[in-house]
């Protein structure tokens, strides 16, 4: 028999970006809020303090801050007829574990989506006609508009302290920013980061070709900053140990540096680390949740009663918990019925590595999000009917780190070992830069999440199964980007360069890191027969369960997700504060 804890108003599952924000918002209403986080407690000091973070093997290669597959993982297969195999060791994506979640060890590329991306299906149908959408493509609108979210993008950027340059202030195009972006009500809170050699080379060549380069919006502080919660960021020192590491300098925007210090001071907030939620418990009629069951740090099962349950466990874990808790009807790709697990999507990326014998890039001088980007080939720029695909990408030339175990690009034909390998290493290290394309990934009928019939975790619960592969539409998109990056690369006149893009023979490979931008599975929308959540991220089926995170995306953006994830969290919090608390029940009538 599980022991029962005293009742709280709100129980939050996970304590990453989303639930840190939600904690601030709901404690402001005077509610008693408890967060349960499965991983350890961790903070800038002592866990991320210099020098121990500057250890590539422990954090960069052995993933000390990430989820342990031994404790939590998924199975993967390419098609509905295949048997799935467990993702046994980390590679393709690296979910977080511990207070702050993946927000402690992310890069910090912080984007807003394009207005068109939030209503993608309608945009495509209105602009190019419904018949250009392939039969198996299941894209949808988010059900919330850019204009509605704008104040929340703005506030999230101020809380996180983003360094960048506006390109569109209230409809007026600004020199030096992204001229193609959606309107913004205010400038970024900090100026862009310092330019590195690769940034400048990319900027110059892009300008010469008539393109519109601008600095990547960065969650690495370009100067000292105090956010609206009174939290302070120190100027980034370009330490070169950013992605996969906690910031040793208090400069990377994270739940710790931007929110949790303020939240922990509130008496009506508490959190328990090393507590993993197993399941959301439902009342007998299945229409409301009564709380959650979790395993505490001693391994005991505990029931935590609450009036409101907020999931912020990361997209994949949100969907897993919904499936395990029986909230919403699981999606069936054969019949097309059901919704939970539907429209899992990822990110279609590619890139070029350029070698310049005579240039010194000093790659170890870098930050997670310093870089120069361009948006000329974005979703909103491309004529889908003419090009024969739906989607788009942004390009970036970034210099994030020069850590030598993982970052040793060698020219084509160089051997992998032996005396000649050593020679190639010495000749190449510090002389390469990259140009990447970061692209959208559409949703498809047979790309989805459900429970695995074979593999289980330590508690005997089925692992979640991911059915996913690359599709021709998205390969055509990335092949289009390849041509553009090839042109830019040649114009830079390197001594040698290599292109790496998916082609029509490519299948999803779980080994190389791609992104931790797993989206969908608990998608938002306007119709309960095609979405799990309504436009306020509230479960259609169980009204006191709200689900934060990129699991709500009906397909993936061309951008990194967290700018939208943060804004959607503020948007949902506003609806809870202004509507739900007064009158608990469905915020949208089905």
């Amino acid at each position: 028999m599980a022991k029962t804890q005293p009742h709280v108003d709100v129980v939050m599952i996970g304590l990453g970006w989303t639930n840190s924000i939600m904690g601030m918002e709901l404690t402001e209403e005077g509610l008693n809020v408890l967060a349960l986080e499965r991983g350890p407690d961790q903070d800038t000091v002592p866990e991320f303090a210099y020098p121990k973070m500057a250890d590539e093997l422990t954090y960069g290669v052995r993933y000390q801050l990430m989820q342990r597959p031994a404790k939590s993982t998924v199975t993967v297969r390419h098609g509905v007829r295949d048997s799935a195999l467990p993702y046994r060791s980390l590679g393709s994506f690296l979910p977080g574990n511990g207070v702050g979640g993946a927000g402690t060890h992310w890069n910090g590329h912080t984007w807003r989506p394009q207005p068109q991306e939030l209503r993608l299906k309608s945009y495509v149908e209105e602009t190019f006609g419904a018949d250009i959408i392939p039969d198996d493509m299941t894209i949808q609108d988010f059900g919330v508009s850019y204009d509605e979210l704008e104040p929340h993008f703005d506030f999230f950027e101020k809380v996180a302290g983003i360094a960048g340059k506006a390109g569109n202030l209230n409809g007026e195009i600004q020199a030096g920013g992204n001229p193609f972006e959606g309107w913004r009500s205010d400038e970024y809170p900090m100026p862009p980061m310092a330019r590195t050699l690769n940034d400048s080379m990319f900027r110059d060549v892009a300008k010469a070709q008539g393109l519109h380069p601008f600095p990547l919006p960065a969650a690495n502080a370009s100067e000292a900053y105090t956010n609206p919660y009174g939290m302070q960021l120190a100027p980034c020192n370009y330490c070169g140990f950013c992605e996969r590491y906690g910031c040793l300098n208090g400069s990377k925007s994270s739940p710790q540096t931007c929110v949790l210090g303020a939240l922990k001071r509130r008496e009506n907030f508490s959190y328990r680390a090393n507590c993993e939620v197993m399941k959301v418990e439902l009342a007998e009629d299945g229409k409301t949740a009564t709380g959650v069951t979790y395993i505490d740090e001693n391994g005991d099962e505990v029931f935590q009663p609450a009036d409101l349950v907020i999931m912020g466990a990361y997209s994949l874990h949100n969907v897993h918990l919904l499936l395990l808790s029986g909230i919403g009807e699981p999606y069936n790709p054969i019949s097309g019925d059901g919704v939970v697990g539907k429209n899992y999507a990822y990110q279609m990326n590619g890139g070029a590595t350029l070698y310049f014998q005579d240039k010194a890039f000093n790659p170890f001088i870098g930050a997670g999000a310093n870089g120069e980007t361009l948006n000329d080939f974005g979703v909103e720029q491309i004529d889908f009917a003419r090009e024969g695909f739906i989607g788009g990408s942004y390009f970036n030339a970034a210099m994030t780190n020069g850590q030598p175990i993982r970052n040793m690009p060698l020219p084509g034909g160089a051997p992998q070992w032996g005396a000649e390998w050593k020679e190639a290493v010495q000749q190449t290290y510090g002389h390469t830069m990259t140009i990447g394309s970061h692209g959208s990934n559409m949703a498809y009928r047979d790309c989805y999440l459900d429970l695995d019939p074979t593999y289980t975790d330590d508690h005997g619960r089925p692992l979640m199964r991911m059915t996913f592969d690359w599709k021709d539409n998205d390969v055509r998109m990335t092949q289009f980007m390849k041509q553009k990056i090839d042109t830019l690369s040649r114009a830079l006149a390197p001594d040698d360069y290599k292109l790496s893009f998916k082609d029509f023979d490519s299948h999803y490979d779980v080994r190389p890191y791609q992104t931790t931008h797993n989206v969908g599975g608990a998608i938002m929308g306007s119709d309960p027969s095609t979405s799990v959540l309504n436009r306020y991220l509230q479960s259609w089926d169980v009204h006191n369960v709200f689900v934060m995170g990129a699991s709500a995306f009906p397909q993936n953006l061309q951008y990194n997700p967290t700018g939208l994830v943060g804004a959607l969290t503020y948007w949902a919090a506003k609806a809870i504060r202004e509507q739900y608390l007064k009158n608990p029940g469905p915020l949208v009538q089905a």
Partner: protein, 236 residues
């Protein structure tokens, strides 16, 4: 700020921060408070914990071919790479402690699905070394370490390409671990046992754990002038 000044203030900072941190451990359980001036062991004097004497000779010989001492830059043996590998076998990596290791196992799965073997890395090493040595004896009439450099390279290439078939272990998986761990030992912080005196970092120009470059970020196309520092404050 002059290079000298940066150097000096950095050193004080490193010393200072080490004094403030009591017995912090890095992920693998290595203590960061190990005295900065405690010299790394000589490879010849080191007694391996995981590998037996014969296996140890194999690891040394193979590492010496993967990153040989010829030409510019140190080799795997001068940088204590075998010591790094021995330590890794005893840690979380060797035991696959963080990996999902529940069955059923599909050993012949497509490589796109990543590691699918039921063996832990330390089991792969043990079986891989035994099988490779047996192959050398049976096919070449000589232990691996008795072969000349070209002969050893031929065997390693056969392992790499999966041209050898062993009953109990995948030859290419064994080689993949051996190569991965050799490069890790070469380039990882010396606190993990290899990269002795940061020789591999000095060779390529990586400043190690300095991690502070604000004054240098916009100095374009100028090679960074300072040598590396390590987690324990050793300077190179």
């Amino acid at each position: 700020m002059s290079a000298k000044l940066e150097n000096a203030s950095r050193r004080d900072f490193i010393k200072g921060s080490l004094m403030m941190i009591p017995a912090v451990t890095v992920g693998s359980g290595v203590s960061l408070t190990a005295a900065a001036d405690e010299p790394p062991p000589n490879l010849a004097d080191y007694t391996p914990t995981f590998f037996d004497a014969e296996e140890w000779q194999f690891v040394m010989a193979a590492c010496d071919r993967l990153i040989p001492s010829d030409g510019a830059g140190p080799g795997a043996l001068e940088t204590n790479v075998p010591i790094f590998i021995d330590k890794q076998m005893e840690g979380k990596f060797g035991h696959a402690a963080d990996w999902y290791m529940k069955g059923p196992f599909t050993e012949d799965a497509s490589p796109l699905f990543g590691y699918q073997s039921s063996l832990t890395p330390r089991e792969v090493y043990r079986k891989g070394i035994a099988a490779t040595r047996r192959h050398c004896q049976d096919a070449l009439g000589e232990d691996f370490r008795g072969l000349d450099a070209a002969g050893q390279d031929r065997v390693l290439t056969q392992l790499e390409q999966g041209a050898l078939e062993f009953d109990e272990v995948s030859a290419s998986q064994f080689f993949a671990f051996l190569l991965q761990n050799t490069k890790e030992g070469y380039f990882a912080d010396p606190i993990h046992g290899g990269n002795k005196h940061m020789a591999a970092w000095k060779f390529i120009g990586f400043p190690g754990a300095r991690a502070a470059y604000r004054e240098w970020v916009d100095q374009h196309d100028r090679a960074y002038p300072l040598g590396p520092v390590s987690l324990t404050g050793e300077r190179g």
